[in-house]
């Protein structure tokens, strides 16, 4: 598909979501926001996993630092949502710089285990610093205030703030993937030795990818804290880090739209199954397994392959 067509599709998605924001009822809006937040989290994450080839189990903790940074500013300093989000993102960025600095020296399983260890350290800190973080109760009573004079207290209003950041994320990730920086990340994934022989400081690039994905995790976290009006220590747990991994796998690791499609499937499928059975975890697991095992390259990966079967595989290195 040419790039004009792709742009048109994404523009249509954003417009569609905007229309949804005007007409849908409160539950649909809420689910829509959950999907967008997970998509922001997962698209940022996939820059690290799908693009750079690094599997992190610590991004739940970065999501949580975003949420707690936002919540602390909101509860103690100012109810201004933008300043709160800024604080959340800044804290997540700082944490990903520190964690990333130590982790990117390693790859594969060593990298994964290090991120897991750092992530669980942050989880323990949140759990134990009860005076600051509220322990397992988390921080409650986060207010939404207003953005530039526009109230966002109601879901129908807050939805558009989430949509704005979602659109911003789509655009930024798209630009990043297409840039020289994004291509170098793919180079590192394919062969990091060759990339370093080309004179590229591989570690710095890895760190940059780690921090960028951390920024988006923090953004999703701070918006999530506003959506739910509380913070959850379990959002720092490694099991929460598995969500963007699953979502990317379902949608397609090597595709741009994979994490987005994966997020829709993950949130909506779960909600549907819960309406049928209280044994929803089992069925959810079975269906996810079927998608992941049945469609190599995820839903979007599989779709792209099918679309490209006819004509010459022009962008194959990109697509599959």
């Amino acid at each position: 598909m040419n790039s004009k067509g792709t742009h048109a599709i994404y523009l249509a998605i954003i417009l569609g979501l905007a229309v949804l924001g005007l007409v849908a009822d409160r539950f649909v809006l809420y689910m829509g926001m959950r999907v967008m937040l997970l998509a922001i989290f997962a698209m940022g994450y996939n820059l690290l996993l799908g693009r750079t080839g690094l599997l992190s189990f610590g991004h739940g903790a970065l999501y949580a630092t975003g949420a707690y940074g936002m919540a602390l500013v909101n509860l103690h300093l100012t109810p201004d949502p933008l300043l709160g989000i800024l604080a959340g993102v800044a804290l997540a960025t700082a944490c990903s710089l520190i964690v990333g600095f130590f982790c990117v020296r390693h790859t594969e399983i060593y990298f994964a285990m290090l991120t897991l260890a750092f992530g669980m350290m942050i989880f323990s800190l949140i759990w134990n610093l009860r005076e600051l973080t509220g322990g397992d109760d988390g921080l409650v009573g986060i207010s939404r205030g207003s953005v530039l004079g526009l109230p966002i207290a109601k879901d129908g209003q807050f939805y558009f703030l989430v949509l704005f950041f979602f659109a911003l994320t789509l655009w930024l990730i798209h630009r990043l993937r297409g840039s020289a920086f994004g291509l170098i990340l793919a180079g590192i994934r394919e062969n990091n030795q060759r990339t370093s022989f080309a004179g590229i400081p591989v570690k710095s690039y890895r760190l940059a990818a780690f921090v960028i994905s951390g920024v988006f995790a923090g953004l999703a976290g701070s918006l999530g804290a506003m959506l739910e009006s509380n913070t959850d220590p379990f959002s720092a747990h490694w099991s929460h880090s598995a969500e963007p991994i699953l979502v990317s796998l379902i949608g397609g690791l090597q595709t741009f739209s994979g994490p987005l499609v994966g997020s829709v499937i993950f949130v909506v499928l779960r909600e549907i199954i819960q309406r049928f059975t209280q044994n929803w975890m089992l069925w959810f697991g079975v269906i996810l397994l079927a998608i992941i095992m049945g469609m190599r390259g995820g839903v979007m990966g599989g779709l792209e392959k099918r679309l490209k079967r006819g004509p010459a595989p022009a962008g194959k290195g990109e697509g599959s």
Binding site: A24, D25, F27, R130, I272, M281
Partner: protein, 429 residues
Amino acid sequence: MSKKGLTRRQFVKAGLLTGTGAALGVGVLKPTGLWAAPAKIKGPVKVGYQAIMSGTLAGYGEFHKMGVVMAMEEINKAGGIAGVPLEVEFRDSTLKKPQAIQNARYFVDSWGADFLAGVDSSGQALALAPVMAQLGKPLMVTHAATEKLTEIEVYKKGIKEIFRICTPTYQDGNAAAFVAQGLPAKKWATISPKYEYGYTCWNMFKDTLGKLKPGVEFVAESWAPFGTTDFRPHINTILDAKPDGLYSVEWAGELITMIKQANQAGLFKKIKHIMLPVGAAMDVLEGLGAEMPDGVWISGRYFFMFPNDQRNIDWVARFRKRWNHYPAYVSETGYSAMYAYKQAVEAAGSKESNAVIGALEGMKMGSPAGERVFRKQDHQAMYEVPWGLTTTNPKYPFKVMGKQVIIPPSEFFNRPPFEGPNTHPPFKG
């Protein structure tokens, strides 16, 4: 904002997002009969109930469900609520906050619930408070015990939608201190869960007992993280401190494990006075059987042997006939929550939120656990739950309460405004 029932349009909208499957998921429980609705209340009264139904604590969800389903069957058989049937849908709360919020929003905005009930974890209850304020529907908490819910969210922040029908941490911390006051133990220690519930209860116990009995010492604390399976290091820490009394708010499977390991370590021979605020839970008593020692102080949110009146005896008999099980405390709180809504709706003559909230405030109700009164200021139900000593009774395959002590709730429930003099027990005057 308050949409009643599920209109076709909402249905179609929900379908847009959730696919064609949504249609089938609307209710596990359909109305069981036809009633002519009076002019004021239209359609069924719908209650969305969430509890933990997966993982190691799934048994609690089952116990919740038994009580609630039984209440629904009885209510509908007797003509429903103000002439319309009661309809209940259950959802797994998974103990995770985002799931609890999603459930609440699903119930109110998609399923069209009039009221919500359930919730096991304190963190979830606190997270739900602002959500319920936004959704504008009452939530009757049947298990989560944190006093912050009623003291801060309801009383201080004025979130009117939250009510609690079970005893809060006052039962675990304050009432325990009143019982401990009468025991010869001078030195107390704890093994408790390493999260807010554990810290809160122990602090309340220390604070109240310290005031009731000056000179009492608190010599050791050992905090067990969620999911602890090896309590031996904790038991050893406590034994090293040589206390006369052990206080522990461990609960469910972890309490069972702790008691078994304490038995092996001979703890019950070395420490004479043991207090388990949630030891009277049926899963614990049945899980331990004869392994629960005699002479241990236990309590809960309800115990099937108290009160020893006809209403409770009949209820326990009906419950056993229906489920072949003794009722757990969450069965009673779930059951009574349905009757609380019934009474409030009938008193208000409406199922509209504000009317029902108004009716619930200060409402007195009879229930298997005895008479309950919903305190107006903080929406906390006040009723008596015994503290009792475990004893072997050949009539039961598990330990039950022998000697029972009742502390009146007015003596040990923190009082509004919850801050300042004479708001925490012991009270003067």
